[in-house]
């Protein structure tokens, strides 16, 4: 029995040695995400996405014959993110960093990287300011808060207004947002864009994401009598608000903005009442796959690796982003020289509808990917399906009374 065990262990060890033997060299990349603390859930989900991209790329031969290795770091708080960036660069000598799900953590960590001219790729945080600071070594593959608002405004003017039998200028919108940087920046972007397109914003209600009761928010929304409520929430507050909106008979439909409204736990908690809730977010899994080539392979690999379904689209967005980073590194032949990287990144020109998220890639002078577009989804029978725009949709949106 003992012998058998030893043999097994030896075989295992050998297998590891052989599988690693394919690569002569490794290529280290810093992966900085909040994987403990209050953002642990989606921080880890994001890291998983990048991890899948890494596994896939290594299986396909790595980058210029080198195996990609992640040097992981836990940016559980903003201060921790700053320390971790310093450690990754100085101790672990990583030549580039990817991350970081949370906007405030990204701001702190990327600032350290920029001073040392270490390229920083943001794959998931959405605050507008991240790519507006004039850093030459900062890129972002995912859409910004402003892009989220653009999608929402476009959806309201293109589809929702006519469904309600109104002109866009007659549409009254309320915003209820959690009051951290995420909620605040989306709410501000939306207010500005809505004004430009003539939509009326009748009330803005900030609240704290760990509130135990949101009835006061609902009362204020009832008083404002909007046609639709734009909600920007994390996980538990999204559930709480939707439950209390139903209980307290808020008439206006809810439209989430990523975060909590995309989580399966939202649908589980609300049961039938989740049906019809709209949401704008990174690309989700029920989407027209001809628009998102590679998505099914990602899902299969994810399930094989983590033995469960993805908990949100954050992993997919990070998978897509990490793959783009690897493409750039492939173009430079593994060179980490910031100048080479910049050239390679700027020369990327991937049309929309050809990546796993459906996003194209074209960086502007600030390093922002201008072809990343959030999609509109809707909960239908416990599944989050993409409903808008048409080339990504698998169902038509409905307006639930």
């Amino acid at each position: 029995m003992k012998k058998a065990a030893v043999t097994l262990v030896l075989c295992g060890a050998l297998a590891i040695v052989f599988s690693a033997a394919g690569f002569a060299e490794t290529l280290q990349i810093g992966a900085l995400y909040p994987i403990s603390g209050s953002l642990a859930l989606l921080g880890e989900e994001s890291l998983r996405g990048a991890e899948i991209a890494r596994l896939e790329r290594n299986k396909a031969g790595g980058i210029a014959g080198r195996e990609i290795v992640f040097e992981k770091a836990d940016g559980s708080t903003v201060a921790a993110a700053r320390s971790e960036a310093e450690r990754l660069i100085e101790q672990k000598k990583v030549p580039i960093i990817i991350g970081s799900y949370s906007s405030s953590r990204c701001m702190a960590a990327s600032e350290v990287a920029a001073r040392k001219e270490i390229p920083y790729f943001e794959l998931g945080a959405i605050a507008n300011a991240i790519t507006g600071r004039g850093y030459k070594t900062m890129w972002r593959t995912n859409p910004t808060a402003q892009d989220f608002s653009k999608s929402q405004v476009a959806f309201i003017t293109d589809w929702l207004a006519s469904q309600m039998g109104k002109q866009p200028s007659e549409m009254k919108v309320s915003i209820a947002h959690e009051d951290s940087d995420y909620g605040t920046s989306v709410a501000e972007s939306f207010s500005t864009l809505a004004k430009e397109s003539g939509i009326q914003v009748v009330s803005v209600e900030p609240y704290s994401a760990n509130a135990t009761d949101l009835s006061s928010v609902i009362f204020r929304l009832r008083k404002a009598e909007p046609d639709i409520v734009i909600a920007v929430s994390y996980a538990q507050d999204a559930i709480l608000m939707a439950r209390q909106a139903y209980e307290l008979k808020l008439k206006a439909p809810l439209m989430g903005t990523g975060g909590g409204h995309s989580l399966q736990s939202f649908a589980d908690a609300l049961g039938a009442q989740a049906d019809g809730v709209l949401n704008v977010d990174f690309t989700q899994y029920a989407v027209n796959t001809s628009f998102t080539p590679g998505l099914e392979e990602f899902l299969a690999l994810y399930k094989a690796t983590f033995q469960e379904n993805p908990r949100s689209g954050h992993s997919l967005a990070n998978y897509m982003g990490a793959s783009v980073v690897f493409d750039i590194l492939g173009k430079t032949g593994g060179s980490m020289n910031p100048e080479d990287l910049r050239k390679a990144a700027m020369s990327l020109d991937i049309p929309a509808g050809t990546t796993a998220t459906g996003w194209g890639v074209k960086f502007d002078a600030n390093g922002q990917n201008v072809r990343a577009v959030p999609l509109v989804t809707q909960w239908r029978d416990g599944k989050l399906v993409t409903v808008w725009p048409q080339d990504a949709a698998v169902m038509d949106p409905i307006l639930k009374e």
Partner: protein, 295 residues
């Protein structure tokens, strides 16, 4: 007009939940005089237990209280024996930090064991409500409110008429004198901790039908419970109940008519104010000033 009544009702229901979470803390803080920063984590553990019992054995959250309360009673005793008892002789401040340690420990053990997922229990009554003259009353909240009222009545009579209750009140009053009178103070500390944890757990169980649980859910409850207990007066169960209702109503009114983002700020400000003007608490009777430091 309807809105005002509705806001008031929602506030009262919310306050019932707050009272329920705080009543256990009053026993612990009042008797053992320890600022237990891990109080919210006790709520968190009870919520997780409710979730898992429902998840694996489809046990209704309200039924699961029968199992969870005794379990948490034992948890409280173990907590007191292992963590609190050995440091009773140290200063109040040292005790705070031991419980900060426990709070970190429990939060992160929960993260390791159950991941960061947000978990809810979906029951048939999760979103059900009554409507009385256009005023909406959420049923699970009403249940929590009633349970708070009931717990407090039970505790009130327990403290008033049983030997253990009288001993506990004596310790709240003055533990040195209680000891002189022949009360086994250490034994009663253990009991107070066990009972306090048990009622806190009941709060956690009754929250589950309408809230989500995740590893850091307890953080908000800890400070809140201290506010309620101090407002209500140490050792006064009815005080805790009314203070809970008061905070609930303040939060509801402040949130609706001032700003939802500032509702916590409003009740914290009231807390500081009350501490200064009526140190024995809004509803506490007798002295309290000396304890707090105001004379």
């Amino acid at each position: 007009m309807d809105l005002y009544i509705q806001v008031l009702v929602s506030g009262l229901l919310l306050g019932g939940v707050y009272a329920l979470i705080s009543v256990g803390l009053n026993l612990i803080f009042g008797v053992v005089r320890i600022i237990n920063f891990a109080h919210g984590e006790m709520v968190m553990i009870a919520m997780y237990l409710t979730f898992w019992l429902h998840h694996f054995s489809k046990l209704d959250p309200y039924v699961s209280a029968i199992v969870i309360m005794p379990v948490m009673f034992i948890f409280g005793i173990v907590f007191q024996r292992i963590v609190v008892q050995p440091i009773l002789a140290t200063s109040a401040t040292m005790k705070i930090f031991a419980t900060v340690g426990v709070s970190l420990l429990l939060q992160n053990l929960a993260l390791i064991a159950w991941k960061g997922d947000f978990r809810t229990v979906q029951t048939s009554y999760s979103m059900s409500s009554l409507e009385v003259f256009d005023i909406i009353v959420s049923i699970p909240r009403l249940v929590a409110f009633s349970a708070a009222l009931l717990s407090i009545i039970v505790l009130y009579y327990f403290l008033k008429y049983t030997y253990v209750g009288k001993a506990l009140r004596a310790i709240v009053e003055d533990h040195a004198v209680a000891r002189l009178m022949g009360v086994n103070v250490e034994k009663h500390y253990i009991l107070a901790f066990g009972m306090g944890t048990m009622f806190t757990a009941l709060g956690g169980v009754l929250l589950m039908p309408f809230s989500s649980v995740y590893p850091t859910v307890g953080v908000t409850f800890t400070l809140l419970a201290f506010v309620v207990v101090v407002l209500g007066g140490l050792g006064s169960m009815s005080g805790t109940f009314f203070a809970g209702l008061f905070i609930g109503v303040v939060e509801s009114i402040g949130g609706t008519f001032v700003s939802p983002a500032l509702k916590e700020a409003i009740y914290f400000a009231i807390f500081v104010l009350v501490l200064l003007v009526r140190p024995q608490g809004l509803f506490g009777k007798g002295k309290g000033s000396e304890e707090v430091g105001l004379k």
